[in-house]
């Protein structure tokens, strides 16, 4: 197992390098010149040539990339070209917010989808199944941003209350922090749970029809044992894959939730960074997102081994 994890971690390096190279080049190909904005609107220097020199943007792209990479290797992401704030500090403040929201949403998603999916499968073609499937279709169809807007607006119209709360970091006020995140996490989680629930249901139905499950029934095992011990574990393998694939989707969805619920995470910040062409900041965020997705995929692969002993890692 250890060997496998080390191998996977080593494989992440070229992936991150490749992604960072692509992003580094692509953002410089976006029409428009950041130095022009900085000079025209914000007087960062007398002219763009001088500013480019100050920021090192006058160097060839490979040289700029090498310099940036050398900084990252030493743990220094540099500073924002706009605010001069340390990118490391900015990430330390913002990334935990997005991560917390993502994990919370994922928890909601899994906690809803798996029991509901299992229930729908074992009660196939009953009214319970129909109701649960109908809800899953509704939540699959309803866009998260629309649901979030309704959740914010309608209670404020009807009862002068809304789930919008002033932000507090976890270390400042854990209860408030969780309360603030609950509604966006529920919306994101429910949105994702719909797909996951359908996958769980179909996998469970498939597994429940297999011979070894029939044998378990024939042995006279209780339903709970057959379903949870024998069927669910095997049914979860593709479900776990889907959970892993949902991480980037949840990261993307958090962008909208952060905007609606005024959360100081990476989402809205990323939009500003792209608009402002804050190259070093954008590169850092991209690397962090890439590493997060790769790390989640690694965790998913490790979970495979736990769920299915036939999968031998390393």
């Amino acid at each position: 197992m250890r060997k496998y994890v080390v191998q996977r971690l080593l494989l992440m390096v070229p992936t991150v390098l490749f992604v960072s190279m692509v992003i580094f080049s692509l953002i410089r190909l976006i029409p428009g010149d950041v130095t022009q904005i900085m000079v025209e609107n914000f007087k960062y220097a007398d002219d763009t040539k001088e500013l480019k020199r100050q920021l090192g943007l006058d160097q060839p792209i490979p040289v700029q990339y090498a310099r940036w990479l050398w900084g990252v290797v030493r743990g220094d992401f540099g500073t924002s070209i706009w605010t001069k704030r340390s990118i490391g500090d900015e990430l330390k403040t913002r990334f935990p917010v997005s991560l917390e929201l993502g994990l919370y949403a994922m928890l909601v998603s899994v906690a809803l989808a798996i029991p509901v999916g299992v229930l729908a499968a074992i009660r196939q073609d009953t009214w319970i199944d129909y109701v649960l499937r109908t809800f899953s279709i509704i939540f699959l169809s309803v866009p998260g941003f629309w649901l979030a807007t309704l959740v914010v607006v309608l209670p404020s119209l009807w009862w002068q209350k809304s789930p919008l709360l002033p932000w507090a970091y976890f270390h400042e006020d854990p209860l408030r922090n969780l309360l603030v995140l609950t509604t966006p996490a529920l919306i994101l989680g429910v949105d994702r749970a719909a797909a996951l629930m359908r996958m769980t249901r179909s996998q469970m139905l498939e597994v429940l029809r297999q011979d070894y499950v029939r044998t378990a029934w024939a042995k006279g095992l209780r339903e709970r044992r057959v379903v949870l011990r024998h069927a669910l574990k095997n049914a979860l393998i593709p479900v776990v894959t889907i959970i892993g694939l949902q991480v980037p989707v949840i990261l993307g969805g958090s962008l909208i939730m952060e905007s609606i619920f005024n959360l100081p995470g990476m989402g809205q910040f990323l939009i500003n960074v792209i608009n402002q062409r804050d190259y070093p900041m954008l590169q850092a965020i991209t690397v962090v997102f890439t590493v997060t997705v790769l790390a989640v995929n690694l965790v998913v692969d490790i979970i495979y081994a736990y769920l299915d002993p036939r999968v031998r890692l390393g």
């Binding site: 976006i30 010149d33 007087k43 900015e90 919008l164 809205q268 500003n272």
Partner: protein, 572 residues
């Protein structure tokens, strides 16, 4: 920047009634010293060349209730652009600085001051004297202190700070240095409380320039210590509030400046601002009382808001900012006045206002003075011969184009900012403009530009045929008329070169008598209306909601929220 910026940067009307009062047929100044809130200190004085007079504010008599915290949603006005007062024209920076900084002159605020009343009144100045048309002697208030923060540590404001601020703007070539560059010939500081400005030529709006939000007064030590003033630690002024903290994307907190130069003000102990740009969230926060004030509710949501939150109180006013549609007055085909008149006739103002503001706002906006400047703007029906070009008449427009040699219209390119620059609303406006023009036969291709590129080209007047985009919300009449129409004007986007108009524009600038100047400005409006160098779309209404227990609050257009809140209190 975004669309709501232009909705927020609202109506402004330069009322010089109190600022310049004619005396002896020459320039005169009368200043109302208004300190905002429930308290007023007023003084009038008339100054004429060769005489001295001033306005000494009476002792403040605060009527408000001290204490409390006010929560406000500043929407997208988060100071992500840094805090240097002079390096940027971004509203994000200047709104934040209105809490912490002062100007030599400021705009009248308080319950009796209109939202767009740009009357310059003494701020840090105690007295202004104009011994002649090119000399302004400012006597500073005594006992004004900078915030008690390093490196300034609460030292007293001196005339050297005023001189340093103006010279900083010019020396560092900041964008709006033309408020003073070329105009101020000399700045002298005969003593610590006196600043003597000698102008290169008379300028009727010089005091308004000193009240402009670019003219926040700073201390040299801050520059020396921090290199520039972009950082949070560099936010040190003499204003009513001190910046306590700024958590990006979360909130900014200002606390009362205990040494503020108006004793008893500000009333509030603390102002907490959030930056929720999402409209639905903004409305929900106001409705449920999570904030005491929001800087704007958009017109399409207004009725629903009023119905769902009947206890809210409101201020409504007309914007003085907005977009402008322009074209090269020096190149074919728009060098032909018939083509320009056809363009004006083809612009459907009624449907514009209906489309974007549900009909709430002012159709009669420009040319060239915006509707908000009520004391200066001539209604369209009084524009004389030029009035005929401002009604919607497609047939007449086509006739004029045919007379000009374009019976089948023509094709042209319109440069404009992209959605990322000012938001989708601006792009929708561009599309509607294109649609209007297509109906009279002018086939415009929109050439959308990225923000920096737009600022450097179309916004700066560098384009080939047509352009469309938001205008800087000027606060002085001179900026609107001289700046945009004089052949040497800094904002002459239309590339006008009209000697007769130049003469009129120079004349109004040199005229200090209010009534006489108004006559000249009226003449300019009539002249401009007839030659149609720009087309001004209608302008929307700004709606500012606040909780009923907020007292002494009346919003001020532009970048003055901190100024307004120094006289606001909470009475629960």
């Amino acid at each position: 920047m975004d669309v709501s910026y232009w909705n927020r940067v609202r109506a402004r009307r330069l009322s010089r009634r109190h600022a310049l009062v004619g005396a002896g047929g020459l320039g005169a100044a009368a200043f109302l010293a208004a300190c905002g809130g429930g308290k007023k200190e007023e003084a009038r004085a008339t100054t004429a060349p060769g005489t001295q007079a001033g306005a000494a504010p009476a002792a403040a008599q605060p009527q408000g209730k001290p204490g409390g915290t006010l929560r406000i949603n500043l929407k997208s006005a988060e100071p992500t652009t840094g805090f240097d007062p002079h390096a940027t024209f971004s509203f994000r920076t200047h709104i934040a600085l209105s809490f912490t900084h002062d100007r030599v002159m400021e705009f009248k605020v308080g319950p009796d001051a209109g939202e767009a009343d740009y009357t310059p009144v003494p701020g840090l100045a105690e007295k202004v004297e104009t011994p002649d048309k090119t000399t302004f002697v400012i006597t500073l208030r005594k006992g004004v202190k900078f915030h008690n923060k390093p490196p300034v540590n609460g030292r007293e404001l001196t005339s050297a700070d005023i001189k340093y601020t103006i010279e900083r703007m010019i020396a560092k070539k900041f964008t709006y240095r033309d408020l003073f560059e070329g105009l101020v010939d000399k700045i002298e500081t005969p003593d610590a409380a006196t600043v003597r400005f000698t102008l290169a030529q008379p300028h009727a709006d010089f005091l308004t320039n000193l009240a402009n939000h670019y003219s926040w007064i700073v201390a040299r030590e801050v520059d020396d210590q921090f290199g520039d003033m972009k950082k949070v630690e560099a936010v040190i002024g003499t204003g009513p509030f001190m910046l306590e903290s700024y958590q990006p994307s979360v909130r900014a907190v200002w606390v009362k400046n205990p040494n503020f130069w108006i004793k008893g003000l500000p009333y509030l102990d603390r102002v907490e601002a959030v930056f929720v740009a999402d409209e639905a969230s903004n409305e929900a926060m106001v409705r449920q009382g999570q904030v005491e004030i929001s800087t704007a509710i958009l017109n399409p949501a207004l009725d629903a808001m009023k119905a769902s939150a009947p206890n809210l109180k409101w201020w409504h006013y007309i914007s003085a900012g907005g977009p402008v549609f322009y074209y090269r007055n020096d190149k074919r085909p728009t060098d032909d006045v018939r083509v320009r008149r056809a363009i004006a006739l083809g612009f459907d103002r009624q449907s514009w206002l209906k489309s974007f503001e549900l009909g709430r706002g002012a159709i009669d906006n420009g040319p060239p003075i915006l509707a908000a400047f009520k004391e200066w703007k001539l209604p369209t029906e009084q524009l004389g011969e030029g009035a005929q070009w401002y009604k919607y008449d497609v047939a007449a427009a086509k006739r004029l184009l045919a007379e000009a040699g374009y019976p089948n219209g023509f094709k042209a390119v319109m440069d404009a900012p992209n959605a990322a620059s000012y938001g989708q609303r601006t792009v929708d406006e561009e599309e509607l403009t294109k649609d209007f023009m297509s109906k009279i036969g002018i086939d415009l291709t929109i050439n959308q530009k990225e923000y920096g590129n737009w600022l450097a080209t179309g916004h700066a007047g560098i384009y080939d045929e047509f352009a469309y985009g938001p205008m800087t919300p000027y606060v002085s009449i001179d900026e609107w008329v001289y700046g945009m129409h004089h052949s040497k004007g800094g904002a002459n986007k239309a590339h006008l070169k009209d000697p007769k108009l130049d003469e009129l524009l120079e004349k109004q600038r040199a005229e200090y008598d209010l009534n006489a100047r108004k006559q000249i400005v009226n003449e300019i409006q009539k002249y401009v209306a007839n030659i149609v160098p720009y087309v001004w779309p209608p302008v929307g209404q700004t709606n500012v909601p606040y909780q009923p227990y907020v007292k002494g609050f009346r919003p001020k257009a532009g970048y003055n929220i901190g100024l307004v809140l120094r006289g606001t209190w909470i009475e629960k």
